[in-house]
Symmetry: C2
Subunit: 329 residues, 2 copies
């Protein structure tokens, strides 16, 4: 087998067998679609129906300090092992819409419509993909927020600062709420990213939203079948979930890791957006050891869509084994 | 972190911070969708637009002789390592619709509409997913067939034996055409599966189709940018392709392997549907060594949708690394 370019289709056997059709088509050439399929995917956890509804993905130049304790060369090597291009990093965003039978529950809201305009559609796709999935934001009963970073909370508001889910109760981790709404914490936050995060959270949660916000506690069901689990480190109140129905369950890891080709493979790497790198690493190792031992399916906000898989041990780290796409539910 | 079930959301902090909203929703509970997203996915190879359009997937009990030279226990072990259920095998089907700019080219046609009815929608989804992707079968200029097994050719016809792609030229491997249309070969075929295959191919290609069939040769472009490559073994005329545009290329492996968790990981395993197991294995090892050395993207008809990835060496075998889903094209 050699793969070289040859000339047009005029083989001896072809000519001998049947005449080569050269009839030009009756129709004009069909233009390319230039548009991706709507990126949503459904699966069942027992009686519960989960829809993974992509908010898109964004590609950034690889910053020198994207991983605080690994060199750019090491990050490029990991990208290469995963057959990804060098010197850039793609961050994926996968919010969820969960139908528990009685309640329609959104977990995290993506980057929002303003980001959609700013990125020319790369991110902030959540609203459009929800619509493609036939989910009306007005029918959402609860929005559960895992933590207060912009890619999780900004989709709570429309571009004109209205509630994107007007009839939904907004449920937020109690520890997270306390941290970001504390004026003392805000005054002590370092300039730049942390100050900006405080300002963004005040903007989002003060835009007519605070009266609808309910803090929730770890170790309790925040919605039917949805257990909130403490996984602090990435932020002080960062929360994961176990969604269960009957004997079926999935672990919703939120941001315990970001891009799996980097941070599942290298659990000791500290991403620059982990607010407490050491605690985040400790949490990550505990969670991933548990996922391996329990062979528990895992849904990751920053895994590539549809962001569902299992975890295997791999050397000193782990590896995401994506679940095969099921064309039926 | 412990994952145990607890009671309802009535935490001390929640009660202290803000009143827990218990308002029942104004709307009735939204019913579950019970329907998967349309399974199509687009990507570019240079200027060429590829749409992977799923025909679905079918799950069968694991037969004792599904792999001729491996025990059922070994197959179950491989399924377990891939986090797949025991004692059953899922076969995925991923035809392609390729827009070369001038021509709309379908590669392989899936199990057909009759299979769709027989499996209650599990397979034979190609026609419906093409429609979801906005592709009108009447606009297809060419249908390129990789080999003459039912899951590749049956979709050429509608349930009432009409041409599913009425304006398309049908291009078939010259060696494959010669084998299946040879009455001597048919008379020597063993009873059961091989006889049935001959009969099915006569049925499909005699139903008003033969006059539109053009055999093609290996080593030549069968459509713009689409080079036909000999990969015999699975069938005598089994064909793969290199699709290329500019410096970008992808290897379309057809059935060089079936389910990657079994046959990419274990290239020495002979599936019961490989017509010449030894030749199929030899082809498989050559192709996969080439894919590793050239770091060439590969599209697999029987990989889980969207069936695109890269190949890495893994012990004595290989491993498919699925390409991350891009929410934009």
């Amino acid at each position: 087998m050699t793969i070289t370019r040859r000339e047009a289709l005029v083989g001896a056997a072809a000519a001998a067998a049947l005449p080569l059709l050269n009839s030009s088509s009756a129709h004009a050439a069909v233009p390319p679609a230039n548009k991706q399929a709507p990126s949503f995917y459904r699966y069942k956890v027992g009686d519960i129906e989960v829809a993974v509804v992509s908010d898109g993905a964004n590609t950034y130049p690889l910053a020198d300090k994207f991983v605080l304790n690994a060199s750019k060369d090491d990050v490029n090597a990991a990208l290469g092992r995963a057959f990804l291009p060098q010197d850039k990093v793609t961050i994926h965003f996968a919010p969820l819409a969960i139908n528990t039978g009685g309640k329609l529950v959104v977990i995290d809201t993506g980057n929002g419509r303003a980001a959609n305009a700013a990125t020319k559609g790369s991110v902030g796709q959540f609203a459009a993909n929800l619509m493609a999935a036939g989910i009306d934001p007005k029918n959402v009963d609860m929005v559960v927020i895992s933590h207060f970073h912009g890619d999780h909370v900004n989709g709570l508001l429309t571009t004109d600062n209205q509630l994107a889910f007007p009839n939904a109760e907004i449920l937020v981790p109690a520890v997270e709420w306390k941290f970001w709404m504390d004026d003392g914490e805000m005054s002590r936050a370092s300039a730049g990213r942390m100050q900006d995060l405080f300002k963004n959270n005040r903007r989002v949660f003060e835009a007519g939203l605070a009266k609808k916000v309910t803090p929730y506690e770890w170790g309790k069901d925040v919605a039917p079948g949805l257990l909130a689990v403490e996984t602090a480190g990435h932020t002080p109140g960062h929360t994961s979930y176990v969604l269960s129905s009957g004997s079926d369950r999935v672990f919703i890891q939120s941001d315990v890791t970001n891009n799996p080709d980097l941070f599942v493979r290298n659990p000791g790497w500290h991403a620059n957006f982990d607010q407490d790198g050491d605690m985040a690493e400790s949490t990550r190792r505990k969670v991933y050891d548990m996922l391996v031992v329990e062979k528990l399916k895992v849904q990751g906000f920053h895994y590539p869509f549809p962001a569902l898989g299992n975890i295997e041990k791999d050397g000193n780290g782990y590896r995401l084994v994506p679940a095969p796409w099921s064309p039926v539910i």
